[in-house]
Symmetry: C2
Subunit: 459 residues, 2 copies
């Protein structure tokens, strides 16, 4: 059997970008994807006659590689609709009221506003002090990494309203609760994504635009030249990587085997852990899997006869501290009269609702939408959802989470190649970690590592 | 192929105890153990002509089931040698000096002593307020679970000496750093094990006695009646559990299959995660694996011509905040002139030293022993070690760790059976969680669940 230059495990944006770059450089590569489709944590579904994103969806400000890819693929980049007021639903203080607001921070009580403003400035100042390549080297790294984000919140936010708004923001960005996250990890995440405000913003932020026809087509565009030469294997559920005398042997559960000089694992650590490596990985790399759990999210898109909220002066953006469907955006088709809302059940509630019957979950989502947008929301044209929590090939979304102690104890293991195995995936990204843009850049970085290593070998 | 009543995955104390109880009750059972030996996280090795424990070793005060098992097996229960002074090596304040002490807390500066005493009383008071069955229901559970133990330490211990001593205790008990542990998780661990002092103590504590000839013989005693009827399969590396029409099919990597009505997973969550379950486990149970990393420890036993430290009035017990070999006990043979010391490289340093060449690691251990006990420690008769961090069938020791948010978000998933699958292992224990005693009790509890479930089915 022929020994390839490089095997790439994972056919998401990181793996495909890496493979494409190596392929263009003339290397013999093969992508091994466990699913029956490409695109990883992006995914499309039919809804009321359209194709909608039910996975990774947004092109954010500064996402230059993803933008270039969309342009190369000839896909339409559609600004996220954001005209009008946003809605905020708080439990505390506001006595279960839905409030309208504009700008980044809702018009809450002045004390909450003041301390939120100060807290965000503090977060940004601390995060700007980090090196994206090695946040674990910051002077305060140990102290920041051994504290949860909840502890930090308790110290810097004293009002219930301030804390609830902060929880909402963290939950929507990380799909997890502040109490399980490292403060240093969150600071790094902010630094990697142009700051706290950008993470939570549409215009100029991480939710700036979408791709007409869905994000997956960009993965398919990346894959096309590889597929034309049969360089992509689907349903290849890799479960074993074994060192041979001169190379690595990679095996899937259907007993297929491939051989290559280099292997790129383009998977989050929590998934990579399902693959046994012989000889064993270094302890730090192996341990990442148990220290970097995936976030929890169920994504839902609901179609309506009209974007009725727009007539009420609403942008469709809504967030809540206590409603199950806790973050919502407009997802109406660009032109045409019908409407759609896209949103998320994030964090711990995602696991709760994941275990409920789908009818009950659908009702909870519609009840949330009625609470935000009124009785018209109870009558959808169509409904589609994807439970990323139980998706066996993602085991959660959006991203592997940085738990306390992870970065300072294991940070260098995220990207350090070992014995011919390289690491890609948005979890390994320095810039735009957690986003498709980070995945792409990580794939480029891993490809460059492989090219350098193989060039050295040939010299 | 015959459908058994119950398959037990894992041949450690939990799995063997469970299987033995079911077997005694007349059920058709089979134990599937991935290793080529039984005993799980216990293990023996030859050292200077003796057999010594290189894994789980101690019978603690209150470990009634383990004591009864030792008695039933006819094994000698040997009190841990503890006569004489202990040694404490601190970095701070004491300027790299080794100090002798007696009692629980070293004779450090008065302020450190005072605040340590107060902190331990506070820990015990809080831990006593917990229900062992449901620590997540405590009034303060959410607050305690969303804070690291390091944050708690920073607040309640102000002196560097106090903090270093606390770190030493936590590291030796949990084989992990306080900065990655949930405060609630640690409180539960204390409550489950008769309090903070008991965890760190020899007499009346968790290190009260050992078993002459090694702990593994007790696992073998448990297994004997099962093995006599070929109810134990070794080298059975289970990787898949599939629901069939009437039962579960369990497959190992050598394509062997077994069928049973019930399955007991007697593994820590981090190992259970390597087994794919179809249909998928509920989200909370699946997620435990990524939220409960194993501790990190390398265990070493060193033999000497004589127990020379005893002549110097030392018990052989030594701890350090900065030396690699950070916790040491006497392990000399009960009778006879030779000596031995057993000890640990715990926590983050274990992963560092795991990656170093064995000669270098051996030297670091001996250098530590010289620092504690003087130049005689440089000339051992024999040396044996086991790196539990990279042991593929343990992936760390002593125990799966409770990270922030774990208990309040996922606690009930630890023990709740699902669709005929039950959970055992010391991580699931309410009493003596983390110890062999906890493993045994968890096996009894899981066996009782299976007996009840099958009896209900027959009625």
């Amino acid at each position: 059997m022929k020994t390839l230059d490089c095997l790439i495990i994972g056919g998401g944006f990181a793996g495909l970008q890496c493979a494409q770059r190596l392929h263009q450089a003339g290397l013999a590569v093969q992508v091994l994807e466990a699913r029956e489709r490409l695109g990883g944590r992006t995914r499309v579904a039919p809804l009321a006659g359209r194709t909608v994103d039910i996975g990774g969806q947004w092109i954010g400000a500064g996402h230059s590689e993803l933008t270039a890819l969309a342009q190369a693929a000839g896909a339409a980049i559609v600004p996220q609709y954001a005209e009008g007021a946003r809605l905020l639903h708080l439990t505390s203080g506001h006595r279960d009221r839905v409030k309208r607001y504009r700008g980044l921070i809702p018009n809450a009580n002045p004390l909450a506003l003041l301390e939120l403003d100060r807290a965000i400035r503090r977060l940004n100042r601390d995060s700007q002090s980090l090196s994206l390549d090695a946040p674990w080297q910051a002077a305060q790294a140990s102290r920041w990494d051994h504290e949860t984000l909840a502890t930090w919140k308790q110290r810097h936010l004293r009002t219930r309203t301030g804390r609830e708004i902060f929880d909402i923001a963290v939950r929507s960005v990380m799909t997890a609760e502040p109490g399980m996250l490292s403060r240093l990890g969150f600071l790094f995440y902010c630094a990697s994504n142009n700051g706290f405000e950008a993470l939570t913003s549409v215009e100029g932020g991480a939710q700036a635009a979408t791709v007409g026809g869905g994000m997956v087509q960009l993965a398919e565009h990346l894959a096309a030249p590889l597929q034309a030469e049969h360089r992509v294997a689907l349903n290849a559920d890799v479960h074993r990587i074994v060192r041979t005398e001169h190379a690595w042997r990679v095996e899937d559960r259907q007993q297929r085997q491939w051989h290559a000089h280099r292997v790129v694992c383009a998977l989050p650590p929590a998934l990579q852990d399902r693959i046994s490596v012989e000889p064993a990985l270094p302890a730090d790399r192996a341990r990442l899997a148990n220290r970097m759990p995936m976030g929890s999210v169920i994504k839902v898109v609901v179609a309506y006869a009209t974007p009725f909220w727009r007539e009420a002066g609403l942008s469709g953006e809504a967030v809540s501290h206590s409603l199950p469907f806790n973050t919502v955006f407009d997802a109406s088709p660009r032109e045409g009269a019908t409407g759609a809302l896209v949103g998320f059940i994030d964090g711990a509630p995602a696991r709760h609702w994941s275990a409920r019957p789908s009818e009950e979950r659908r009702q909870a989502v519609l009840d949330s939408l009625v609470r935000y947008f009124g009785p018209q929301a109870a009558e959808p044209l169509d409904y589609v959802e994807h439970d990323w929590v139980t998706d066996p090939w993602s085991r959660g979304c959006y991203v592997g989470l940085m738990t306390p102690g992870l970065l300072t104890e294991l940070g260098p293991a995220l990207r350090t190649p070992w014995s011919g195995i390289h690491w890609a995936g948005t979890e390994t990204a320095t810039e735009f970690c957690g986003y498709i843009e980070g995945a792409i850049r990580s794939g480029q970085r891993a490809a460059d590592e492989v090219l350098t290593a193989l060039a050295d070998r040939r010299r």
